[in-house]
Amino acid sequence: MTAPAARPEHRASGAAPQEGSDAGGAGLQRSEDGAIATIRRGLRLSPEFARGLWLTLLLAVVATAGKVIVPIAIQQIIDRGLTTAGGRPDIDFAAAVVAVCAGTLAVTMVCAYLMNVRLYRATESALATLRRKAFRHVHDLSVLTQNSERKGALVARVTADVDQISTFMQWGGLQLIVSVGQLLVATVLMAVYSWELTLLVWVCFLPLLIGARWLQKRLSRAYLAVRERTGDMLGAIGETVMGASVIRAHSTEERTAQRVDTTVLATRTAQVKAQRLSMAVSPFAEMIAAVGNAAVVIAGVLLGIGGGITAGELVAFLFLMTLFVAPMMMATEIFNEAQNAIAGWRRVLGILDTVPDIADPGEAGVELPRGAVRVRFEDVSYAYPGGPTVLDAVDEEIAPGTRVAVVGETGSGKTTFVKLLTRLMDPVEGRVLIDGTDLRDVAFSSLRARMVMVPQEGFLFDSSLAANIRFARPEATDAELEAAIEELGLADWLGGLAHGLDTPVGQRGESLSAGERQLVALVRAYVADPDLLVLDEATSAVDPHTEVRIQRALDRLTHGRTSVAIAHRLSTAEAADEVLVFDGGRIVQRGTHGELASRPGVYADLYASWVRSSA
């Protein structure tokens, strides 16, 4: 009577469908397509869905047809087997009917098996493709777009959102096919027996189907409330763990407990409310089935007296009506899942619709020859979308092999300068040239090979030290890695690690200290062997020992290369060949540390206050 994994009781139990956050994010496209258009585009994106779909559907039709075999058998036996000419039941006829029906059932079972296997294979393959495309596209987006949405939401695009489609395909979608098929086949057979009674049955059940749609809208609101309350609750409980020491230090246990209680109760209330809606369908379906049964019996008998229907047909009718109840009971859940799936699909499409604003010229791109890099900024200006100008007509040149420090207060434009230099963003006006070529014309593969940026936070992957360093150059051997570490003057540090290169770094590198993470990032950059090195100096204080190591590694890393470093500590500026001083989006001073420090100006002020605070 019910099809695969039909667990209405489970599904409605507040296990609210998982959902990837609705937060659209400023930089991301939101697909505005309607449901049908979304599905059509989704199907086109993953051709595996449609491949051989007609055969799957054909199998589904045959499998569904199996549902009416039993009522037919009952009808045949009551009408033609109960009484023969001799007034005795015709066992031979019954045996023949049963044999034929059993054979047919077996065939439909095989079809059901094949349909299921094909459906799973097609949908899972298609969704894996969709995941891969979306994942790749996220990486192709510019840093600006990636940051405009929370990272968690991006992850949801390739996980929870796709899972939602998957759940629908394998439960809701399958149910939809089976239910529609079931209603169709039952209706056709009923109509063969009696169109009048068929009409009667539909009149009874139609309001339920319409009501289900209405209910589903309220239900999805109720589920949304459950998700929101659950989020609050998990946040509050999370604080008891993550804020454990603060709570104890300020002795706010009681207040925290009350906050937890409030959110837990709010969640429970929302769950109960959603469940009240979701469970309402089933009793109604029971009632309507009862009304339908009563109406069919009364009308059927009256009809039968006039010869419009046989006894067997009437009894078969009652069996066929059970085929109506299950689809009706599940209709709200199916609608709900369909809606979630379409929303999920729309979000995934939204990612794919977002055009990467920093595009790789690809094949047409210029390949740059190796060797120290000359950098030229030609009247470069930049403003964030909808924001004020943060970099204003900067026109500078950096000679090959120069070590440049970039200094300035927060918001002076120094970070923007570096982002434009590494082509994490493109200028609004002007051009950035390396070795005379516009950055926008350089193939990414060539650009990444020649220029490496070491960000402020040395992000590491949850793997070994070696794997993290090798991230820059997968073919590097252990010996090469060790040589690199040695050359950067870090052999003593590596020697101090119990497992050497095999040391696991933990999630996001958290088994190492912040300073050690920075060291790994520097080694990684060294192994990549770039011609232009861009560094964003770490701001958080590390212990002096590591500080010295970092300094030593940096000196050797930048040796003989063009390098540009955002200097938060002015000791870095002291060591540089040249200093670029930013203020209000412009370069206001340029020169060696010695020259700048001795002249009154922005740099001298910065330096004076730094000296006071650090010595």
């Binding site: 891969r132 990486h139 604080e239 009894v315």
Partner: protein, 654 residues
Amino acid sequence: MPHDSTSSRRPGQAVFRRGMYVLWVAIRTEPLVFLVAVAGAGLHAAFSVGSASVMGGITDRVVLPAFEHGSTTAAALLAAGGLLLGVGLAKAVGLAFRRLFAGLMQFRMQARFRRSVARTYLRLPLSWHHRHATGQLLSNANADVEESWRPLAPLPMVIGSIAMLAIAAAAMVITDPVLALIGFVVFPVLALANVVFQRRVSPVATRAQALRAHVSEVAHESFDGALVVKSLGREDTETERFTEAAHRLRDAQIHVGRMRAVFDPVMENLPNFGILAVLLVGMWRLSTGAITPGDLVQVAYLFTLLTLPIRSFGWILGDLPRTVVAWNRVQAVLTAQGTMPYGDRRVPEGRGGLRLTAEGIGFSYEDGYTGGGRDLSDTEHTAAGHSTVLHDVGLDIAPGRTVALVGPTGAGKSTLTTVLMRLVDPDTGTVRLDGVDVRELAKGEIARAAALVPQSAFVFEDTVRGNITLGAGIDDAEVWAALRLACADSFVAALPEGLDTPLGERGTSLSGGQRQRLALARAVVRKPRLLILDDATSAVDPQVEAQILAGLRETDLAATVIVVAYRRATIELADEVVYLERGTVSDRGTHAELLERSPGYQRLVTAYERAAAERAARLEPGEGGPEPHGLRPSRPAAAGGAAQDTDQTRETVR
């Protein structure tokens, strides 16, 4: 932490017994709700079987006679219709009660246990928290509690189904023992197939779930490191890594699908084969006159009704293993031992700073400390697997003094601050505030008198105001004063809703330095008489840090201040320096004194200068300009000199 009591010789049985116990706990806790749900289930079950009898009866007494004689009575029709309606109504009522109360029971148990778990987290000492990973604890409160009570939703239905089977069996035997025999073959086979299916699909489904989590982890990590991926041009290999994970998930899902594809048609059609058998045997029974056609219809109808209830057993059986594992995890939290006993003494009343004394403090971390990723993650513990030990640490800090706690990585500075605040108790030794042993103080007394600002500041999911007051009745003027002192007033004033701006995951996110300043304001607003700053301004610009520290000295707070610091400017602000090395106080005195007599201290605080000097030596000489920073002679650092310094700093900054 995952305890698994399933390691006995017959794991299946052990899981089943343990699972039943878990269900029993729920029934015992919510007996009334459970009874109502079961009563509803019983009502539904009884009338479901009843509906089959009604069908059979109507076939025999109304339908067949009417077709035979070509006439019927209004009374017969009305009786038939009324019976069908009545039975339907009873079923609907039963169903409504069953589902409503089953859900209520599940949600109540979830809520109850989430509260208990959260309260346990609040009760257990910090040392316990240090031994458990954050992610694990969060999942205990969330997924594990949910998993524990998942079977409660279908439980009443299953109990109703047992009743239904019993009633149906009786009804069939009464109707015709021979036809009943078919049922006695078909339904046990169905139940068995069900159990086999659940047994076989459950590990595969669990594997798929784990792979789903893996896909998510890969995506999370890869997007977190997007900048590194981009700057090294590794998009292709990352996509490959992700695709591999996605394909493994795909294969596992297809495996689950293939099992479903086998079992679902079997489960669905076994009763149909049963009905066909009933029809065949029933014809023979009819021919001998043992049954009526109505009996045949009734038994056949029962077969269609019983399919779903039988399957409901599978739902619970399938859930039990996960339920048991989750329950064991939750129990491990709820039964965790360890409390911090409190006394009933109060910190002596008075104004101004507290005298802080510590004698013979010894402390060692137990194995399994999880290190980083929580709010007390001081660098001492982040190197995997090495635990810090304090031994025989003594301190005597006079009221109102500012003391810098200095030492190399791993010296135990952060650990010492948590001991001084009694976030953890030391293994040996005593900490006294104004002469009172902190262990004799009443709960909340230390928090009333002292405040600790950790290096990584924790921000609550609350407004700025809520984050500062933490629910205490503190007026806005005081909040602003504290923000000013922490140099946080300007950025708070610039927030869209000022003090009412929500912070945290769903609110505005702050930079590391802003968070630290907020945490500092949270501490000073309480007017502590002892203030401990554990490298609490590391993410703040040096200039702002100097301003904050100078402000602290100038207020009427007059608190005793302990500062854990790396920056020399910070150290120089202190009246006295305590130099900690390998878990013990190696020396104490003024900065100048230590610089002179403690080689370790000297190495530590001049590390930057030496590095700069090294570099300066490599630079071409005679570039002009002032002397490189590292070659400047170090200045006298007496308290007075330091204070003078700060004044200047304040002037330049303002």
